[in-house]
Symmetry: C2
Subunit: 321 residues, 2 copies
């Protein structure tokens, strides 16, 4: 069955919210539902829908994996608290860093994060919660991008460590599957979420571990976290589609106090794009580039060199790894 | 004994050339002298002085180490041929790449090149030539930078594989020790050398191996050689102090023909500087940066990403490794 798309323009948010809440209520009945909130627009919108439908019968967990941006867990928790939505915050930093230890290949890093999230951390919460209904923020673009789409449901339970033979009774609810990103943003705004959520810049699933070339140790994540905080503050006023700081694995020569210092390099990327399929480096002023580089070498420990990416997508990609 | 500096402004090139030729003639007598020409301004000026003084009794060797820029050995040979100076060209590419094999540390790369140059290649030429007089393009700045300056002469013979106990009779002649770079440029012009030599942009001793982060294999040198040729052509019109292309060791994600391609990154540096002690990135236009990146990804095999360095020296340095 092909999912019927609802274009953002045609989306009647009030009607959509009412319909989806009814669907969730009728599916869950007197039971419990569970979901994971990342702070991204999709999972935030789903959390709001689930909360409207089920109140405290939705258990929402925010998993601090240690690779989020500066103050992100606190910021997301505060936003939902203000909206009267209870969020369980799970400190799983040690588990994620243990899984990432020694891994330098980007695909293996991604896999380690996915496995830790589903099997180890969220899977455990699902199994112990007694909730049989799993709310997920899957959107139409995710489905387009899943080649073996028909196997998705089966796979999710397997990923969660739930035997597919015994998974009977578990049910996934995906209220956003008819929407694309622009529709979800419109919905999120209508649900009362603040602009920092409904207009949030794209941020990768593997979070800051995707912003580190090579091993994602706690120390290296902390370095790129500092660089990211500086960049996001300095570029907040630009109309760029996305910007990011990347910590390289290569070391380069620098000088500190007249002595050679083999140090770190931070790469800055800032993209102009409509839909992320094609992208061009933003024409940041020379003054702004000098300012960014100055702040990086002064405020981020160990950094002696800073670059700005000037290649377009394709053949480049938005993220480095 | 402190070397008496001759400032570029005060340099009377005709008088200087006459005096240095007399000194060389009186030192070498009826013997032979030998020197290595790199194509840099210092060794080129020394070659011209030695040639004026000794004619064919100076044996000049240009050693092709495989890590020079595109067409550099041919270009240097053609320049000196036109000036009537005979240069022996030595193809030592295999020896240098054998010495560089497996080495990733920048200091070890430098040491491998120095050792191969002195002991293996040039040392052999010196020992077999019968020449007892070695002409060197040492300038005052080199002496300033050598902490153990008094040991230099001793060290050079040791480096050349000549037992210091038996080195009696060998003599180093350094006609440029009273000059700094600007004085040498003035002298080189007065010796009839073309602008491409006397006004040559600084280029490091370890040549393109200093422009490769990680191992300097023939394949990786060829990649950075192509990038360097593009950069030098595109930026020839700028008034920058120095510019360079650097091949990173880190690999980044790219896309070719809609498929993921884990590819290479080239970093471009272009410096504004008076004396290389401090330097700032040149304010190249966004259009020029886009053009450079476009040429790199289109014309240099395997490159999917290009950056422009935006950090200043200090804490950065001009060269990356």
């Amino acid at each position: 069955m092909k999912t019927k798309e609802i274009k953002a323009k045609a989306l009647n948010t009030k009607k959509f919210i009412d319909e989806k809440c009814e669907e969730i209520i009728s599916a869950v009945g007197n039971g419990y539902a569970i979901n994971a909130l990342s702070g991204g627009v999709d999972s935030s919108a789903v959390t709001m829908l689930g909360h409207k439908a089920l109140g405290r019968r939705l258990k929402t967990y925010f998993i601090d994996n240690g690779i989020m941006r500066e103050g992100e867990p606190q910021r997301v928790a505060a936003i939902f608290k203000k909206l009267g939505v209870h969020i369980g915050i799970i400190d799983a930093r040690k588990k994620f860093f243990a899984a990432l230890k020694g891994i330098t290949d980007p695909e293996e890093k991604r896999e380690a994060i996915t496995q830790t999230f589903y099997k180890d951390v969220f899977g455990k919460l699902v199994r112990e919660s007694g909730a049989k209904y799993l709310l997920q923020g899957t959107i139409l673009t995710d489905i387009d991008e899943t080649i073996a789409g028909i196997k998705r449901q089966h796979n999710v339970f397997e990923q969660l460590g739930i035997d597919p033979q015994r998974a009977f009774g578990y049910k996934i609810i995906e209220p956003l599957v008819q929407l694309r990103k622009d529709g979800v943003r419109k919905l999120a705004a209508a649900c009362g979420l603040p602009k920092s959520i409904y207009n949030r810049m794209p941020f990768p699933g593997p979070a800051l571990s995707a912003r580190v070339i090579g091993e994602a140790t706690p120390e290296r994540i902390e370095i790129v976290r500092k660089a990211t905080a500086i960049l996001e503050k300095e570029l907040a006023g630009t109309r760029a589609f996305q910007y990011m700081a990347i910590l390289h694995n290569d070391r380069v020569t620098g000088m500190r106090a007249n002595k050679r210092d083999f140090g770190l390099q931070i790469e800055i990327r800032c993209w102009d794009s409509i839909d992320a399929r094609k992208a061009k480096p933003t024409d940041l002023s020379h003054g702004m580039l000098m300012r960014l580089a100055g702040r990086m070498v002064n405020d981020v420990p160990g950094v002696v060199s800073v670059t700005y990416n000037i290649a377009s997508k394709p053949p480049s990609t938005m993220e480095a790894v």
